[in-house]
Subunit: 310 residues, 2 copies
């Protein structure tokens, strides 16, 4: 069967694409290390044509692009869609840049202020681009309309879904902080970055992060643990990873089940292990969620390019 | 009156020295940007002689050296003194490296485990080198035997003193994390590092850090605040500083008064402002605490080189 949708996930560091048929099946995929940071301003159309032009020659085929390609630094800026937001909100706000090519908007939410009005200051905004498609894909795959969707990464996202709509979400700098601390901090001299993964050290650190004086102190403890040889140098990277992921799980412990975890398999495995150590279970989905999300969006177009399955 | 003590604070980035007379008065000081990181291994005696040799020509004069010069990477390793520790513990554990020159030991404490014994893992150690002298100096200046002594910095220390002894202390990576995030993170592109200090943005961030989803999320909010222009770019550095110092104050809010703050005047002013915004008061001491601490140690030697004042 001929593909009706070219689904594209164009993020900061990579460009990934899938051809999807009218039943939502992925027929073929491509991946390039050409994220938006590697595309000079004004050359997005050219790069798209070079990488995926042949896949747009079928005259009826549509293309939906999610991710940072829709940001101010991307192809064009697709304005954020405010939360609460569902499938339909995204599909009515697609940002068409050519007759058959649309950018999917990201999501924006504003966190409630917790301070007195007389101490008012800047509100807390949060944004995502690309993860919204994975969230709706995960809901589509699992058939859930209520869930907490967790998207681990450089900037991890925790989204709360009710009535099939993203009500709100929260970003955590966990992955970026891990990289910064591993590479540039006082810990960098001690960490053995290519050491094998140490599950026991990781799990212990996850548990340690649930109580006590918080991450600014716990992370320093990684250094003293090395100094006093309480932990072998080879275990320190796993320990640091556990402290930071543990802090993220501490901050999100009140977010309701069921948990859907969407991400690359290595990172998802760590989060699943950490959640299990804290007595929580989760369902793990991989990049299939991206393609399912973009297919769901295409299904909501009028006329739909992908048939609803009976 | 002739100086009886050469007091030296030899840290990671600088070498500072003071001549102190028999009444504990500072007669003269020197400072060099030659911390232990800038001294090749094996050349500490040579650097000391070059910088301070003339101040050791008086035959009866003693020299006490605190700080990282007593670490494994320093002149010689002066083994840590375990907590609880008082003046006397330090003075009986001075590490004499020449007949008239001693290194002051740092302090070590082990935090109680908060986990079940069957989940046992590495304990939480903590260490300081140099701050112990400032703590005892602050007690000597104020006449207090019970206090929480706060030493803001790259690695901030909070020490709990009871019965004139340091019972325990906790280190926070606040200053280092601020530097890492300002220089290397996604925030680095947005921050205006030479912007003037914005007290209102700082205080608001301190308050924001007291509640909500913790620093991994709050710090990411600095980026989105910039994106949505809730905060002028010039205020972001003050905001980030407030979030991190605020997190440190959140983690230490149960530490008992009175608070003694010992540090450089810029950083102490920020901490004092943050504490005031949270309804806490503190007494601020500057580097005088170092000289007072080393003088107190000299006073406890047998025979004392500095007289007890009547």
């Amino acid at each position: 069967m001929s593909a009706v949708l070219l689904a594209v996930d164009w993020g900061t560091s990579s460009l990934r694409a899938a051809l999807i048929d009218a039943h939502g099946q992925v027929q073929d995929t491509r991946e390039f290390a050409q994220g938006i940071l590697h595309v000079p301003q004004g050359e997005f159309a050219k790069v798209f044509q070079h990488r995926l032009g042949d896949w747009m020659q079928a005259p009826e085929r549509l293309c939906l692009i999610s991710g940072m390609a829709g940001s101010r630094q991307g192809w064009q800026e697709a304005p954020y869609c405010p939360c609460p937001a569902g499938f339909e909100d995204l599909s009515t706000r697609l940002h068409w840049i050519e007759p058959r090519i649309a950018l999917v908007p990201g999501l924006h939410c504003t966190h409630q202020k917790t301070l007195d009005a007389d101490r008012i200051g800047p509100g807390q905004d949060d944004v995502m681009r690309g993860e919204e498609v994975q969230i709706f894909g995960a809901l589509s795959i699992t058939g859930l309309s209520q869930a907490t969707v967790v998207l681990p990464g450089t900037h991890s996202k925790w989204a709360q879904v009710r009535d099939s709509r993203v009500q709100r979400f929260q970003t955590f700098m966990t992955g970026e902080l891990f990289a910064l601390l591993s590479q540039h901090s006082i810990l960098a001299r001690t960490l053995v970055t290519d050491a094998p993964w140490d599950e026991a050290a990781f799990v212990h650190a996850v548990q340690q992060a649930q109580t006590g004086p918080g991450p600014l102190a716990h992370v320093f403890g990684t250094r003293t643990s090395a100094l006093f040889e309480r932990l072998p140098a080879a275990a320190l990277t796993s320990h640091l990873s556990g402290l930071l992921i543990g802090e993220e799980l501490r901050a999100t412990r009140d977010m309701p089940d069921p948990l859907l975890l969407v991400g690359n398999s290595t990172l998802s495995a760590r989060y699943a292990l950490a959640l299990r150590a804290l007595g929580r279970s989760c369902t793990v989905l991989t990049h299939e969620a991206t393609w399912a999300g973009l297919a769901s969006l295409a299904r909501n177009l009028n006329p739909p390019v992908i048939h609803h399955e009976r």
